[in-house]
């Protein structure tokens, strides 16, 4: 086949676009194929009630690297921020809320010694998180160390670890495999503070605070706040879709062609090499390299087909754990709600309902048995507090992450869904009395809805659990951890790859480097 494009990227999520853009900047002719009608993948803005817009899946940027903004000149392509350096507020049913940022915690009367302990603790965790952040932007090294470049990569990693100093390194090794519950209990007294911090350790993971590996998932989360050159928590003006639009605009300026509403039916193989794709329309597009940002099963089992892969590899794909526990609630409100103990300024921040670690663990427990929580844990944002353009004048949008909601809702999904909405609204009502009366419209997306709408495997934010066995050199699989696949010419660039999702663009950019290094 004669090819009009060097590379086809499947999926116009942020990783697909970032990959396409880096490839185009390196002189490749790139085509991006997106099945949805708009770019962005899980970072989009859409209407959910007449006149009300919301970031329908991801609702905040939490670890966007400045380098991505700079390299891709996103601000020249229309990206504006409605808010940056967003603070976290841990809500309380009765008292004032805690204001938590990366250095200080203030507000609660019951904080006691914790206010003083918090700074040094976060500083320590920050050093580990920064080390962690450095891992995110590199391709995981090969353990075979056959090439000098691989040995050099490994040496750099070892050196970074060593530079922490003996005491810090030992402490990192001590806590690295712990659970968040024990670590936080060791360091703090205030249930409210511990509850809020544990919330971040379990956000988007398949774990409760007592589950092993939750310090790892927390470090991953903290990396966004402590890494050198990250933007921190930010809200794009116009919602997450505006971020994706700017990225797409940058792509188009660099010569990338993006086709929307164009689902790929198959990845084409000739002579044991990817040679292009067949579209659902029947059209065939040839390219020497195909890069997929789709979920693993979608890429390997639906688009490529097991017949082009070894059975052991397919088994590992099949066993790749991806079960999201986060649901998304969107409320259209006829006025600004009032949260007990929260100032007007706090409403532009990130509000957490996770009053204690036990509350969080109890919210997690039912999910193990395909049941929904009586008292869910929530991350709430009021995007309209920072960006009035998202709702009719004077009205507001509430966007919340609801934990922990199983992918499989059990024998009666309809009843479970109704109960979940009721439980979530009842929880909100306790922390924001009167809010239910303000609700004009509500939309609830469970993990299986998120899978349907955004192609997220199992409704999981990261297209697969972030855990030791699915992390770094093991992500997604030991056999394809450097963005390559067993099929020559086919690469991966989605959140299923290192370092996972989170709207950072690292997976896409790392993949682009691998494509360029191996030639296309």
């Amino acid at each position: 086949m004669s090819a009009a494009f060097d590379v086809i990227v499947i999926g116009a999520g942020h990783n697909g676009l970032a990959c396409a853009l880096d490839l185009a900047r390196a002189g490749r002719k790139v085509l991006v194929l997106e099945s949805a009608a708009q770019v962005g993948g899980a970072a989009i803005t859409r209407s959910f009630a007449p006149g009300f817009q919301v970031s329908a899946c991801a609702h905040l940027l939490h670890a966007l690297p400045q380098s991505l903004l700079r390299d891709f000149a996103l601000e020249q392509h229309g990206l504006r921020f409605a808010a940056t350096a967003i603070a976290t507020h841990a809500l309380s049913e009765t008292g004032p809320c805690l204001r938590i940022d990366s250095a200080t915690v203030t507000g609660g009367s019951a904080l006691g010694d914790d206010a003083a302990t918090y700074g040094p603790f976060r500083q320590r965790m920050g050093r580990y998180a920064a080390l962690f952040y450095a891992l995110l932007s590199v391709k995981p090294p090969r353990l075979s160390l056959q090439r000098w470049s691989e040995r050099w990569d490994m040496l750099k990693l070892a050196l970074r670890l060593r530079l922490l100093g003996t005491a810090s390194m030992r402490e990192l090794l001590r806590i690295g495999g712990m659970n968040a519950y024990d670590l936080l209990d060791d360091n703090f007294q205030s249930p409210a503070l511990k509850g809020a911090l544990a919330f971040d350790a379990t956000l988007g993971a398949e774990y409760g605070p007592r589950s092993p590996g939750t310090v790892l998932t927390w470090l991953y989360r903290l990396a966004g706040e402590h890494g050198a050159g990250t933007l921190g928590l930010a809200q794009p003006a116009g919602g997450m879709g505006a971020f994706s639009q700017a990225l797409a605009q940058a792509c188009r300026s660099a010569g990338v062609e993006i086709r929307l509403g164009t689902p790929v039916a198959r990845i084409l193989v000739e002579q044991d090499r990817a040679v292009g794709v067949a579209l659902a329309s029947g059209e065939v597009v040839a390219a020497a390299t195909v890069v997929s940002s789709a979920a693993l099963r979608t890429t390997f089992l639906h688009l490529l087909g097991a017949e082009h892969l070894d059975a052991g590899f397919v088994r590992r794909i099949d066993h790749f754990r991806a079960k999201g526990l986060v649901a998304k609630l969107h409320l259209a409100l006829r006025g600004l709600p009032h949260f007990t103990g929260a100032s007007a300024a706090a409403l532009g921040g990130r509000l957490l309902i996770s009053p204690s670690m036990d509350y969080l663990e109890k919210a997690f427990n039912p999910s193990k048995y395909r049941e929904i929580p009586q008292h869910p844990a929530l991350e709430i944002t009021l995007p309209t507090a920072n960006d009035a353009s998202l709702a009719p004048a004077g009205q507001h949008v509430l966007s919340a992450l609801v934990q922990f909601v199983p992918y499989d809702l059990g024998p009666d999904p309809t009843a479970a869904r109704a109960a979940l909405l009721e439980n979530t609204l009842a929880t909100l009502e306790r922390y924001a009395p009167g809010i239910r009366a303000l609700v004009v419209a509500a939309e609830l997306l469970t993990p299986s809805d998120l899978e349907q709408e955004f192609g997220l495997a199992g409704g999981h934010w990261h297209q697969g659990a972030l855990a030791f066995d699915q992390f770094f050199v093991n992500r997604p699989l030991p056999q394809s951890h450097q963005y390559q696949t067993p099929l020559p010419g086919l690469f991966l660039c989605g959140a299923a790859c290192h370092p996972g999702g989170g709207v950072m663009g690292f997976a896409g950019r790392n993949a682009a480097r691998c494509v360029l290094r191996q030639g296309d």
Binding site: D272, A306, L309, D310, A311, G312, F313, V314, R315
Partner: protein
């Protein structure tokens, strides 16, 4: 005692951990020795009468072997052909209905898991026979395929009838159409109210057939065969006689000549099809199959060792001997996996693993051989050289129609 209360329960099956095959009762009168072996969950005779007697029946009359324990799977469904073609190394698309093919299957690394035969019953229905149980692997291989896999080992009783008079005996039994049945062909017909499937296959390298029947028909089949075969020297044979014949035929055996990669513990003990010298079973041109990429890479890299046929001086079989490049036995280049003084060929033969590059050598090699003569160990340094396999392959093996004897 607690033990008794368990043993009287319905789950007392564990008291008989090895099963008897459906032929056991009917074959009892011919079992003169209580020498049984454990084979894939069954207890089958190692020897019925005398090994040599049974062996000579294979080559001169015919021998009857109970191969029921052979593990069998039924593979059926719209994707059955595509599925099998991805599992095994041979090209299943070329296997016609009512034909049989020998094949290997490999893991992702191109290491051999097992070998066996595929029988094609229809466009969408196959049977695959293997030495070991493979259900977990076959099910893993089914991810992404519309295919039904079921183990049918206990649902089918099987006998091998091997030797120059086997065709005559089956014709005397009343089976029709065997005169047109070529090697690796199969047919089905009625036999005393049961369906018997006859395939012209075997593990002896001689003219021979395998008969497959439901367990209820097993006893009748055994008894009738022994009746009509009496005049043609039919002789039940055990595992030991088969082992002699299969070495002459040059066939290899898992856990004797190679180890399944699922069982190796030490790195490097697994084998590829190239190493087993079974290149002809690998259809590299058929598209992707399990292990193909690894096999291509290995081919490009060069093969570490190969299984070859050896002939040795003298008449002492060289069981497990080491092989040297030089007479002084300073450079070891391989080892013997199976050895036999062939009574039919009157040659001292062996199957051996030889390291690169010696497996292509025409030069003599030396085998370090130890003999136990009335508890007195003696050492021999015997010259040997590589020869073609099969060591023994009489024209009647493939003649169609086969000669009536």
């Amino acid at each position: 005692m607690r033990f008794e209360s368990i043993s009287t329960a319905s789950n007392a099956h564990y008291r008989r951990p090895l099963l008897h095959t459906p032929f056991f009762e009917a074959s009892k009168p011919w079992i003169q020795n209580d020498t049984f072996i454990a084979w894939a969950g069954y207890s089958t005779p190692d020897v019925y009468s005398y090994t040599e007697h049974e062996y000579f029946a294979i080559r001169n009359t015919c021998a009857l072997f109970d191969l029921t324990p052979m593990v069998k799977y039924r593979i059926a469904g719209p994707d059955a052909e595509r599925y099998l073609n991805r599992v095994v190394t041979c090209d299943v698309r070329k296997l016609k209905v009512n034909r049989v093919i020998y094949t290997l299957w490999c893991n992702d690394e191109g290491h051999v898991i097992d070998d066996g035969t595929i029988f094609r019953f229809g466009e969408q229905e196959f049977r695959i026979c293997s030495a070991e149980r493979q259900l977990d692997w076959f099910l893993d291989c089914a991810i992404g395929y519309d295919v039904e896999i079921s183990e049918v080992t206990a649902d089918i009783a099987a006998l091998a009838l091997q030797g120059p008079t086997s065709y005559t005996v089956l014709a005397a039994l009343g089976l029709q159409g065997l005169e047109n049945l070529g090697a690796m062909g199969m047919l089905q017909q009625e036999f005393e109210g049961h369906t018997v499937m006859v395939s012209r296959t075997g593990f002896t390298g001689d003219l021979g057939y395998e008969l497959w029947i439901d367990p209820e028909g097993a006893a009748t089949l055994w008894t009738r065969l022994m009746e009509v075969g009496h005049q043609r020297g039919i002789t039940p044979m055990g595992y030991r006689a088969l082992e002699m014949a299969r070495i002459e035929a040059g066939f290899i055996l898992p856990h004797v000549d190679f180890i399944s990669c699922n069982h190796t513990i030490r790195l490097g003990r697994e084998s590829s099809p190239w190493e087993l010298n079974l290149d002809w079973t690998v259809a590299l041109g058929k598209g992707h199959f399990n292990g193909r990429r690894a096999l291509l890479a290995e081919k490009a890299r060069g093969v570490r060792r190969k299984l070859v046929g050896l002939e040795l001086e003298g008449n002492k079989p060289a069981h497990g001997s080491l092989i040297y490049a030089d007479e002084a036995n300073t450079q070891q280049i391989g080892e013997i996996t199976a050895a036999l003084w062939s009574p039919t060929l009157k040659r001292n033969i062996a199957i051996a693993k030889i390291n690169a590059p010696h497996f292509d050598s025409k030069a003599s090699m030396w085998v370090d051989l130890y003999l136990n003569r009335e508890l007195q160990w003696e050492r021999r340094n015997v010259r040997s050289w590589i020869v073609d396999r099969p060591f023994y392959s009489p024209p009647r093996r493939r003649a169609t129609p086969p000669p009536l004897r």
